[in-house]
């Protein structure tokens, strides 16, 4: 009897010790409608400690040249991880080249940045750190700075089993945190689950958004879903959306070298779009009204204009209002308030 009790006790103790020494996998909740077409590198699986470390790094301005800028400076949770500026200002005081992108649902993104020049989040994470007009500090130097703190070496030890901080491990931790930023609980999602009734204007807007125009059947549609459709409200595609007759920014062409890719940019997500103004790769539109006016009335013809934008219908003013009402249903209040995504240094 005593022997079996002792055995049980020792098993419990071993269990407790095990729980303290290991780093359990991070329980990622994948929305069913989003599907599982994503890649998490086998050498950077999500762990509780890795995600927690990535979150600290994301919010730490130590990673910048003059300790003033962190990733979160240009990617603020309250704005669905954008910054509200046309172009962002980094350590140099000069504006960035393009508008800050939302970080929602990056797990499903395949080519990062407006021109898609990074294939993985791990590769992406180091680029703004190094850029003189963003954080302006070589990742090797950041790693040295972190190494000298009391705070970070033990956290790298917990997350990766080594307290030797390297840019590679920093990038891995940041990528882990960013993969957890899933937004899938907007009013529209609740509508799909039967928990939120769309207003008549939102419903009309949704119909305009989802369907194309059919002149034979006398159906009017804005067909936004053609490029911004699917559960994530984006597709991994690059298009010239007719902003200029003579575009200045070569966009995707700089990455691929193909002339046909001139002035093509990523099709961004429309989730939380009401929070992520200003819009477009150069942040030229301040409001959703301006964006909808553009697609309805001001598509500029150019050599690489997307074939999908030829022959768009001009929307009436009430159709535009309906469409914008629908776009507001894509705002996910839970996402922008989720404590797991907030600044960990501000925790009480």
């Amino acid at each position: 009897m005593i022997r079996s009790l002792l055995l049980l006790l020792s098993l419990v103790l071993v269990g407790i010790a095990f729980a303290f020494t290991t780093n359990p996998p991070y329980p990622l909740q994948i929305p069913n409608s989003f599907g599982h077409r994503y890649t998490i590198p086998l050498d950077n699986l999500l762990t509780v400690e890795g995600v927690a470390l990535g979150r600290y790094l994301f919010y730490d301005s130590l990673l910048s040249k003059n300790n003033t800028i962190s990733c979160s400076s240009c990617h603020q949770q309250s704005l669905a991880f954008t910054d509200g500026f046309t172009l962002s200002i980094g350590v140099s005081g000069r504006p960035t080249f393009r508008n800050s992108m939302s970080l929602a649902n990056l797990l499903w993104v395949r080519d990062f940045f407006w021109d898609g020049h990074s294939k993985t989040l791990e590769a992406q994470a180091l680029i703004p750190m190094d850029h003189p007009d963003e954080m302006g500090l070589a990742p090797e130097k950041s790693a040295q700075k972190l190494q000298q703190t009391k705070f970070y070496p033990e956290r790298f030890q917990k997350a990766f089993g080594t307290d030797q901080i390297t840019p590679e491990l920093m990038a891995k931790a940041l990528a882990q945190f960013e993969r957890t930023l899933i937004s899938a609980n907007s009013s529209y999602d609740q509508y799909l689950q039967g928990k939120y009734p769309l207003t008549p204007a939102e419903k009309r807007g949704m119909e305009l958004f989802m369907r194309g125009t059919s002149r034979d059947q006398n159906i009017r549609g804005a067909n936004c879903a053609h490029c911004h459709g699917g559960a994530q409200f984006f597709q991994n595609r690059f298009h010239n959306n007719g902003l200029d007759a003579s575009p200045l920014d070569p966009g995707r062409q700089e990455v691929t070298g193909f002339e046909d890719d001139f002035a093509r940019f990523r099709v961004p997500t429309l989730r939380n779009i009401a929070l992520t103004a200003p819009y477009m790769h150069d942040g030229r539109f301040k409001t959703l009204e301006e964006v909808v006016d553009h697609y309805s009335d001001h598509i500029a013809q150019s050599r690489t204009l997307s074939a999908d934008l030829q022959g768009m219908i001009s929307l009436t003013s009430s159709e535009k209002k309906d469409l914008i009402a629908f776009l507001h249903t894509l705002t996910d209040q839970e996402f922008i308030r989720n404590p797991a995504f907030s600044n960990p240094f501000l925790r009480p």
Binding site: F238, F258, R264
Partner: protein
């Protein structure tokens, strides 16, 4: 002496002011182009003519030397095809209805020919576990569509799916071409993928 590749940098002075050339696009003067130079003496009086000739070759080679179609994945021979390689492959003409509801004549390379060239398991090899392989076709803008291998193999299918390069005798327009998949008899043309750049052969996991 003439066989060394010439980099884009060497031609910088030839590039019109606004033309953007990406550093990752390699430009190689073809042997056909260089044979013309045999016997030339690189003397000062010939420089002008040289520049002129190089200028014309630059434009020819910059068009022809770009990889226009990549075939990768479960292949024995990954391919980076240039426009001329595609031209040299057998062509067929198919009739099919586009989104406009009208029948057009499309000319191009049957996809099966591309698969054979890349050493994909088609024909007699398309059996057993090879039946769960598929071709993922990717466009310039990232749009993707999928065909199971038997759909592309004439031993299974009666229709010929082609990589078209012309419609009704003219090259496909910008935004659609230079290459587009045409799937005859398919009711909805969603898999008629435009601006095709890559075909990746994969196994279902």
């Amino acid at each position: 002496m003439y066989s060394t590749p010439i980099s884009a940098h060497d031609f910088q002075w030839l590039i019109p002011h606004l033309m953007i050339v990406s550093p990752n696009r390699s430009i190689r003067v073809t042997s056909i182009g260089l044979s013309t130079f045999t016997g030339f003496h690189f003397q000062t009086e010939n420089r002008k003519l040289m520049k002129y000739l190089l200028l014309s070759f630059f434009f020819i080679s910059s068009v022809s030397a770009q990889t226009v179609l990549k075939i990768s994945g479960e292949v024995t021979q990954p391919l980076n095809l240039q426009a001329n390689d595609l031209k040299a492959l057998p062509h067929v003409e198919v009739k099919a209805k586009d989104r406009d509801g009208k029948e057009h004549r499309y000319s191009g390379v049957p996809v099966i020919e591309l698969l054979k060239k890349a050493g994909v398991t088609v024909g007699a090899q398309l059996r057993g576990e090879n039946l769960v392989k598929y071709a993922l076709v990717r466009a310039a803008d990232g749009y993707e569509v999928l065909f199971a291998l038997p759909e592309l193999d004439p031993e299974f299918s009666t229709r010929t799916i082609i990589l078209a390069e012309s419609v009704d005798g003219t090259s496909l327009p910008s935004g659609t071409g230079p290459y587009r998949i045409v799937v005859p008899e398919e009711k909805k043309p969603a898999r008629w993928i435009r601006e095709v750049r890559e075909i990746e052969i994969r196994f279902v996991k």
